[in-house]
């Protein structure tokens, strides 16, 4: 068995059929499909039972475990070398499994790969997730670079390090796990739309209250990364960091905050330079990206992002170097 596809489901009678069919119709056929039912109270079970396919395995939980717990049940029961995730309301395009498996088999240093995503149901967008491994690792400091429904990973990495979805980070458990995994292998996204992600207003991440909670849990992950950079943020710094995070939807008066944001980014840049956690070039780029999107979100593109703090240092360094060479030339 090469790949286990895991669909956790709780009261998903409306869309689970589409999700199952999107997997059964894959061009790659050697998989098992684990559907973990988290005590649904609607007709989910009867919808699943309609599909007579020996590759489908339905697992019913005794009690409601929540999304992270259900996903862990999936990991425990998976037989495959790879694990592919799909949520019960999302859809995989017909070449997804094959393209991901081919990529992972041909590139053994990679342990996790997602895909680009198109959103359906509400506003339609294409999320062009990052593809550069180091850049993804750096950007994980700010946000999750993978859509869970598009992720395929090597099971070996989970079992070797005893990684599971952390029950203490509900709604950010995927972010947490992908971040942990990214320390052990290269990660990427296939630059092709292979997953449809359904947006609807009932989704847990949508209400303002839930958003605030998610921000807190995501912050816990970010705090861990910051600590590995030897940064122990205080309250003010936390506030600033959360404002930089894309899609944070926090109100931010950019003109007033800019000095602090500069200061914070500069600190991040120097600390990383000291402990070499991330490659310099990509870390800089991820900082730049965040600053840029922050500026463009508040409709002030040019003046600030072209004066990003750490860039100045670079120019100074080159200037010094030229001076040094010139001096040595004069001396000789």
């Amino acid at each position: 068995m090469l790949v286990s596809v895991i669909i956790p489901v709780y009261n998903g009678e409306k869309y689970i059929g589409e999700a199952i069919e999107s997997i059964l119709n894959q061009t790659f056929r050697d998989f098992e499909l684990l559907i973990i039912n988290d005590c649904s109270t609607d007709k989910t079970v009867s919808v699943v039972n309609k599909y007579k396919d020996t590759r489908i395995k339905l697992i019913n939980n005794d009690k409601n475990l929540g999304l992270a717990g259900v996903r862990n049940v999936g990991i425990d029961n998976a037989q495959g070398k790879y694990i592919a995730w799909l949520d019960s309301d999302d859809i995989s395009l017909h070449t997804r499994l094959e393209k991901q498996i081919n990529f992972l088999e041909n590139n053994p240093s990679f342990g996790l790969c997602g895909t680009w995503v198109k959103t359906i149901g509400g506003t339609q967008q294409v999320w062009k997730c990052l593809t550069h491994s180091e850049l993804i690792k750096s950007t994980m400091l700010f946000n999750n670079c993978f859509a869970t429904s598009s992720v395929m990973l090597k099971k070996e990495i989970l079992t070797k390090n005893r990684y599971l979805f952390d029950l203490d980070y509900p709604t950010a458990e995927d972010y947490d796990l992908w971040e942990k995994i990214s320390h052990h292998c290269e990660v990427t996204n296939i630059p092709e739309v292979l997953t449809y992600y359904r947006v609807h207003t009932l989704q847990t991440t949508f209400s303002e209250e839930a958003r605030k909670k998610q921000r807190e849990f995501a912050w816990n992950v970010q705090k861990r990364i910051l600590q590995s950079l030897n940064i122990f943020p205080n309250e003010k710094e936390k506030e600033i960091h959360l404002k930089i995070v894309p899609q944070s939807n926090l109100e931010c008066d950019i003109h007033e905050e800019m000095p602090y944001i500069y200061e914070w980014l500069e600190k991040l840049y120097f600390k990383n330079g000291e402990c070499k956690q991330f490659t310099d070039r990509e870390f800089k780029k991820s900082l730049d990206n965040n600053l840029y999107s922050l500026c463009s979100a508040s409709k002030m593109v040019l003046p600030y992002c072209h004066r990003s703090p750490y860039r100045v240092i670079d120019v100074r360094f080159i200037y010094r170097l030229i001076k040094l060479i010139a001096k040595s030339l004069v001396k000789s």
């Binding site: 059929g17 589409e18 069919e21 999107s22 059964l24 119709n25 061009t27 790659f28 056929r29 050697d30 599909y51 007579k52 396919d53 020996t54 590759r55 859809i91 395009l93 017909h94 070449t95 094959e98 393209k99 498996i101 081919n102 990529f103 088999e105 041909n106 590139n107 240093s109 680009w116 198109k118 506003t123 339609q124 967008q125 294409v126 062009k128 593809t131 550069h132 491994s133 180091e134 290269e186 990427t188 996204n189 296939i190 630059p191 092709e192 739309v193 449809y196 490659t279 070039r281």
Partner: protein
Amino acid sequence: MLKIFQNKVVIKIAGGLGNQLFQYAMGRAISIEKNIPLWLDISFFKNDSYYHRIYLLNQFHIKAEVVLIEAYPNNKYLNQFMKLKKKIDRYRDKKHRMFLDEPDFLDDSKASMENYFAGGPCHRFDASLVSDISSNVVLSGYWQSEKYFKPIRNILFEDLTITANIPENIQTFGSYIQSVNSVCIGIRQYSDFAASANHFKLTAEYYEKAMKLISSKIENPHFFIFTLERQWAEENIKSDFPITLVTPNRLNEDAYLDLYLISHCKHFIIANSTYHWWGAYLSKNKEKIVIAPKQGWGNSEPLPHEWIKI
């Protein structure tokens, strides 16, 4: 170079011969409807290490303006430049690991909500799709329904004539099939996953019922059974009329030869296989009778309405 910016329909080709033909037909229909050139994206076959499927449409008289396997079609220098750039990137930073394997298709990166279509989540037939499509579009899916390309049926017949070499023994066998009241019986076999949803094997009863039905409609039928499972066919399929077993070619490259033979039959009893579907569809016999199973297709409306469904 400028071709990259022109209006076009890009269709992604994936799967075996049957699927490839459906995808081509869909793309061709849209290209004619909107009067824009057709591009085929065949990057899927670049590293298919499991099923070793290959791009097979080049054995037909297809009309596609560009067949894409690299990012910049028809531009040797640009492609060379991109490869060189990637090499330099690698050299400059040994840890610089990008997704270097796939070509970065411009159309995928340009794709936005308006122009990226997939074959519908459940592969339902979607009538609005063809009319809604804008003039610059990427299509990814199976498109297993005749309704998408019914208006261009005659053009497809022309496009899908085989240009690859047909050996003499196959040609003589083909004309023999044509000379009798031939009925093709397709039996698909899946050694790897017999029980998958759309790939189940049909029962002997289905074939018995279909053969009875067809014997009542035509005189002196001669059954030609196309199957790799000779034993199963010999044990389960019996008739008072003559039966000939034909063993298809196992090689992907030779799949078109069987399609050639199947399409020379006059009447059809097909299995739930897109490959048989095309064999029956491409038959030029005007009074053909096609019997097909109701279930086991990847689309909600897979069969033309003249066909008999049991």
